[in-house]
Symmetry: C2
Subunit: 292 residues, 2 copies
DNA sequence: GTTCCGCATGAATCGATAG
DNA sequence: ACTATCGATTCATGCGGAA
């Protein structure tokens, strides 16, 4: 079966109306934060944020399957020395639209922005809000199990640093086998706290959204040939990861530059998939990423 | 100067009225969660929680000094498969009382409660909400600095391995100077994510509140001879830590058993303080605990 | 080929300065 | 008084060049 990737250039509020009801298995997105990225996006002011976002969540509710999940990455900024409350107001309003606020995961950022202020420490975490249409939804917990305890953790860390490249090339040889043995033996279910680093300068897009984040949620809340939607595609991290994990993808982006950038990168991947789908494995299928 | 510890048996809402305006430097508390600990506290239902708590926060606002801080440890429970919104409603209502919601710290619990559910992972974090009466408040950041990350650590390690002998002999020369620069920068300011293990040392009280938590906030938001208040004292962790760090303490507890237990343990400490105050140092004055 | 060091660069936040 | 812009602060990360 062929994987389909649909990219749209335009405003999410309008584009989403084209999508049919109950057609998406998982939505993973990181909308532009209030007052951020003014140069590329409009820069939605914090006191208008809920008003701006609610029409979009209403459409997302319509297109999501009853068994599907909506993961929203967001963090309120400081306004006049105080945390703004628009995220909380958003949650309360979304519940009125019919959403269930199932869970709040924490993304603990290893490398947060530096700085020193007289009355505040550095902000090292963001919210990953999980919403559902129904109390029954698909969740594949076994797909995101993690190495257990300090013993396995340090062992794996050392190995991955020094021998990861070798490991990839020597499939089936001694090292690879050992690693997979450890993985089989020492696995536990993760918690609702994810401990990841933000990716640095690598991309042209300003938002640092590490690949592990969509990867984790795609594995957890969808299976192969499901459909993943990102209504604020940005540099396309969610879309690429969906493809890599053999899910259909739908991406919407309002900035033409990003849209084109993603489209160009998608094309060769699609061709590659048609040529030799079997050899195209997810980059980190071993699950050795740092999630606690 | 003598340290004073006042313990009250009774309902916070009533007892707090006895305390004078603007008399407390720091409030650190962990109130009974909604529907939790029903057998001991009578169990406030989640839909009445805000209504129950607001009169108390109003009194807390009155007794807190304008430069003081209120740290509230809380986490919403799951009701019918969904996170309840009473914490958010509480924040929004407290702002109407005049509180500034300055910051939300995350307590990342290393060893959270075990268990497995089909649609949910283990809950490994709690909120530590910081409220203030004024945008200017006392904060002693240097008291909670932590060892720096891998960069400086590996740097120092390497230097000490290769150049330790030379360094010792050539005091004041180029190398020694460089090293001491790094040594001074060995500590960094923490972030708003605290990574502590839960302690269960006070097994008589049902809430697991590790000593490091009040210790951290007491050091951060108060100085010696300041006054610390805990309106839901429980097993007295905050009170004991306040005493140990040479702060005055006020504790309120509605359950006679806890009240008596804390009172009995406080008496000998007070006597000890009178005997030899100088020798009584905080247990962890070196600050080497694991806070990120 | 390694390992190692130097350097730029972030979904930040505050306070001062300018219109 | 109120908003817009700018500099200073500071640390984990990944890259490129060097030993």
């Amino acid at each position: 079966m062929e994987l389909k990737t649909d990219l749209f250039l335009g405003d999410s509020k309008k584009i989403l109306k084209k999508l049919p009801d109950n057609s998406v298995d998982l939505i993973v997105t990181s909308p532009p934060y209030a007052d951020q990225r003014k140069d590329t996006y409009g820069g939605i002011s914090h006191d208008k944020y809920v008003e701006w976002f609610l029409p979009i969540t209403k459409e997302l509710f319509r297109v999501l399957k009853p068994t599907g999940t909506f993961i929203l990455n967001i963090k309120e900024k400081v306004v006049n020395g105080e945390r703004s409350t628009y995220v909380m107001e958003l949650i309360i309003e979304m519940r009125k639209q019919g959403w269930f606020w199932t869970e709040e995961f924490i993304w603990h950022k290893k490398n947060c922005f530096p700085g020193k202020w007289p009355n505040r420490f550095r902000d090292a975490w963001e919210r990953l809000l999980q919403f559902n249409k129904d109390k029954k939804f698909h969740m594949y917990q076994d797909e995101v199990m993690v190495p257990m305890g300090d013993w396995a953790k340090s062992r794996l860390k050392k190995l991955s640093e020094t021998d990861k490249v070798r490991d990839n090339s020597k499939v089936g040889s001694g090292f690879g086998k050992n690693i997979s043995n450890w993985l089989e033996r020492e696995k536990a279910y993760p918690t609702n706290v994810l401990h990841l680093a933000t990716e640095c300068s690598n991309k042209n897009h300003s938002a640092a959204f590490p690949e592990e984040l969509p990867e984790w949620f795609i594995k957890l809340f969808s299976k192969e040939n499901d459909t993943i939607l990102d209504p604020f595609m940005g540099s396309g991290t969610t879309i690429f990861m969906a493809n890599r994990l053999k899910r259909h993808a739908i991406g919407i982006e309002i900035v033409r530059e990003y849209y084109s950038m993603v489209k160009e990168q998608i094309e060769p991947v699609q061709l590659y998939l048609l040529e030799s789908k079997e050899n195209y494995e997810p980059i980190k299928s071993s699950g050795g990423y740092a999630v606690r």
